[in-house]
């Protein structure tokens, strides 16, 4: 399951989507929205996505992980639109017969997602102002074609 959603992410549902009868280990990464950013109090957030490309890139990093580790199923769900503090912005779940591979693949997936998936976070502050959260591209390891 690869999905962008405007609704709250149901962790239980994402977990269920990767459970395979032959795979006893599931690793899940959950990103939750924080109440501060560079020392400023954040009151809410909004995620914008270049939707068709974001889905394509999420599917690509899933395929990359499947090629590198012995995993059974992978789900990646990212929230878009307004998100309250403490809610999940992303849930990644990986099942595998081997817990080591579940951990490694999940770690890889969140790292790659943060590098290449075109999604942007806008943080809203107490004073009503807002800012796009802009880290610099991690170019070395990003997917480049063309």
């Amino acid at each position: 399951m690869v999905q962008l959603t405007k609704n709250r992410i149901e962790t239980e549902e994402v977990l269920r989507s990767v459970i395979a009868p032959e795979s006893g280990a599931v690793n899940v990464f959950v990103g939750t929205t924080r109440n501060h950013s560079n020392g400023r109090r954040v009151t809410s957030l909004e995620y914008e996505a270049y939707e068709p490309m974001a889905v394509k890139m999420m599917e690509r990093v899933v395929r990359e992980a499947q090629g590198r580790w012995d995993v059974s199923r992978i789900s990646v769900v990212h929230r878009i639109g307004k998100v309250n503090i403490g809610e999940s912005s992303v849930v990644i779940a990986v099942s595998s017969p081997h817990r080591d591979e579940a951990f490694q693949a999940c770690r890889f997936l969140i790292d790659r997602l943060k590098q290449v998936v075109p999604i942007w976070k806008r943080e809203f502050f107490e004073d009503g102002s807002s800012e796009w959260s802009l880290q610099s591209h991690e170019q070395e390891t990003a997917t480049q074609a063309g």
Binding site: E48, S89, K114, P118, W120, G146
Partner: protein
């Protein structure tokens, strides 16, 4: 020829629009779209180095040759997760 230009995040805010059909000359490459953006808002100069480009949903280098009908997206530093 014509391309569909798509802007997101800070690039959208600087330009004041999120999507526009743009006339570009034959032989244009992806990063050429930045020149017209800089003419609309000089602040784009500061972003030049941190913007990436995608053509038809695929990251490309700045020198990627465009063709008629391409969807060209300007991708500021991503911050999902």
């Amino acid at each position: 020829m014509q391309i569909k230009l798509k802007l997101f995040s800070i690039a959208k805010d600087l330009a004041g629009f999120d999507e526009k059909v743009v006339e570009v000359s034959q032989g244009s490459v992806a990063e050429d779209v930045l020149e017209s953006l800089i003419r609309s808002n000089a602040k784009f100069v500061d972003w030049k180095k941190s913007l990436r480009y995608a053509v038809n949903l695929e990251y490309v280098h700045g020198d990627f040759r465009l063709k008629d009908g391409d969807e060209v997206a300007v991708i500021p530093p991503v911050s999902g997760g």
